[in-house]
């Protein structure tokens, strides 16, 4: 088991957004999360990355590290938790004043203080891998949405995380650009990355994931292998959600 999450709870004021979530992520597995808007998918991902501080819950990692959010973790603990995962945002959030290459080198070079020649080689390699070898010196506004998101993926990979988190990575894209981003994610899947992906692309979810979770109102309603959850869901709410997506 790569990561076990137990009793994860998060509220914004009165609003309980995550209600006692239990989750297991196996090493090399791909977990996709589906569910209606507002069900807490983004918040769950952000809690895994501690961009949002959970109110309660425990993380247990494969290497024995445990974090109990019963008391607020130290800055150092937060940093080392974040170090484990790379995050890809729905709206890319690239640094607009930096080139594609600089976006990717920023983490390893400035934060991790690795040698420049090593970081340059790493970044060029990653940009090549996401198909942007010829766009390295362009600024984000000179790139299409699909290209920007691929830079976003390279930037997240550059810190060499153990886990990749994707929050609706293709939702902001024009339909014709969705494929190029999904292809990059599929490549990562084939390389054996451990990933958690929030998505509305059901076909993609079916193709890449080992496990699918359906969330609603801050709870995991149903989970299992993709065929089971996506093709023959047991829960009424899952059935209704899939129905709505397939026949809008």
């Amino acid at each position: 088991m790569f990561l076990t999450v137990e009793g994860l709870t998060k509220a914004f004021g009165e609003l309980e957004v995550l209600k006692d979530i239990d989750l297991e992520i196996e090493k090399g597995n791909i977990l996709t999360i589906i569910g209606p808007s507002g069900s807490g998918k983004t918040t769950l991902l952000r809690c895994l990355n501690v961009l949002e501080m959970p109110n309660k819950g425990k993380f247990a990692f494969h290497d024995g590290v445990q974090v109990d959010f019963g008391k607020e973790p130290s800055k150092k603990e937060v940093t080392s938790l974040r170090r484990r995962s790379g995050m890809v945002f729905q709206s890319y959030n690239l640094f607009p004043h930096k080139t594609a290459l600089e976006n990717v080198t920023e983490g390893p070079l400035i934060v991790q203080k690795r040698p420049k020649s090593e970081v340059l080689a790493l970044a060029e390699n990653l940009l090549d891998k996401v198909g942007l070898a010829d766009k390295m010196n362009l600024y984000p506004h000179q790139l299409s949405g699909g290209q920007q998101q691929r830079v976003g993926i390279a930037r997240a990979l550059a810190i060499e995380p153990e886990l990749m988190l994707f929050d609706e990575p293709t939702s902001a894209l024009d339909p014709e650009l969705v494929g190029e981003v999904l292809k990059v994610i599929k490549d990562l899947a084939n390389e054996g990355w451990t990933m958690v992906i929030v998505t509305h692309e059901l076909k993609f979810a079916e193709q890449v994931s080992n496990q699918v979770i359906f969330m609603d109102e801050g709870q995991i309603v149903e989970q299992g292998p993709p065929e089971a959850v996506l093709k023959s869901p047991k829960e009424k709410r899952t059935q209704q959600f899939l129905e709505r997506i397939l026949n809008p």
């Binding site: 959030n93 640094f95 607009p96 920023e106 983490g107 934060v111 600024y139 984000p140 997240a156 810190i159």
Partner: protein
């Protein structure tokens, strides 16, 4: 070049030009540049203090900004020079003016800088944190460079206002451009001519600055065309 009371208008104009320009070069321009630079540093500090979530940073910063913005510059200058002088803390005219103008720029520019930092989307902070940056790293490398582009147009207005405001330093005996005009006018009684001449010089300086401002803004627009 001597100046006498019986001089003709054109001659007086010509002969007082150089003393006024000298006042500008020796005092108006250094006063502006030094106060603006120090003021920006103060402004950045105040902006960061106000963005903190600790009361012992936010409250003093807010009080200082509110006090400076809520009182006339002339009164501030008088407090620093005459006020402090009268309680035994004598500061020369020029450094007094620097202190007052620095405080002034600091207070006004801190609002501009604070607003520009707040205008940077939260996603920029979050992306910085996910690649491992601390608050200070994110501020310095990601947020401030973008915020500075947003704040350059309003800050250049502050700069141009400062050039004009330095004329108030004449009241605490700094022999800057306008003080020179006053001195000559006191001898020749030709107030209209000399004050118009001073106005013209300020106008030329500000006109040149506004052209530079325009250029910078156009270049910035090209950079943030996304």
């Amino acid at each position: 070049m001597t100046i006498t009371a019986d001089m003709g208008g054109w001659e007086l104009f010509k002969n007082s030009l150089w003393p006024m320009i000298q006042g500008g070069i020796k005092y108006t321009i250094p006063l502006t540049l030094i106060s603006f630079t120090l003021g920006l540093a103060l402004a950045l500090l105040l902006a960061i203090m106000r963005l903190s979530n600790r009361k012992y940073f936010t409250i003093p910063a807010r009080m200082l900004v509110s006090a400076v913005r809520g009182t006339p510059l002339l009164v501030q200058l008088s407090i620093v020079f005459f006020g402090l002088g009268s309680i035994g803390l004598t500061i020369d005219p020029f450094p007094s003016a620097i202190i007052a103008f620095t405080l002034n720029v600091g207070a006004y520019a801190s609002e501009i800088i604070r607003a520009s930092i707040l205008s940077i989307p939260k996603g920029q902070w979050e992306a910085s944190h996910t690649i491992g940056m601390s608050y200070w790293q994110a501020l310095r490398r990601i947020v401030l460079p973008q915020a500075s582009r947003v704040s350059i147009p309003p800050l250049s207005n502050t700069f141009i206002s400062l050039v004009k405001d330095t004329s108030l330093a004449s009241l605490i005996l700094v022999t800057e451009l306008f003080r020179k005009a006053q001195e000559i006018a006191a001898r020749t009684y030709d107030f209209m001519l000399l004050y118009l001449e001073a106005a013209l010089l300020y106008w030329i300086i500000c006109f040149v600055l506004s052209i530079i401002q325009d250029r910078i803004e156009r270049r910035l627009e090209r950079h943030i065309s996304n």
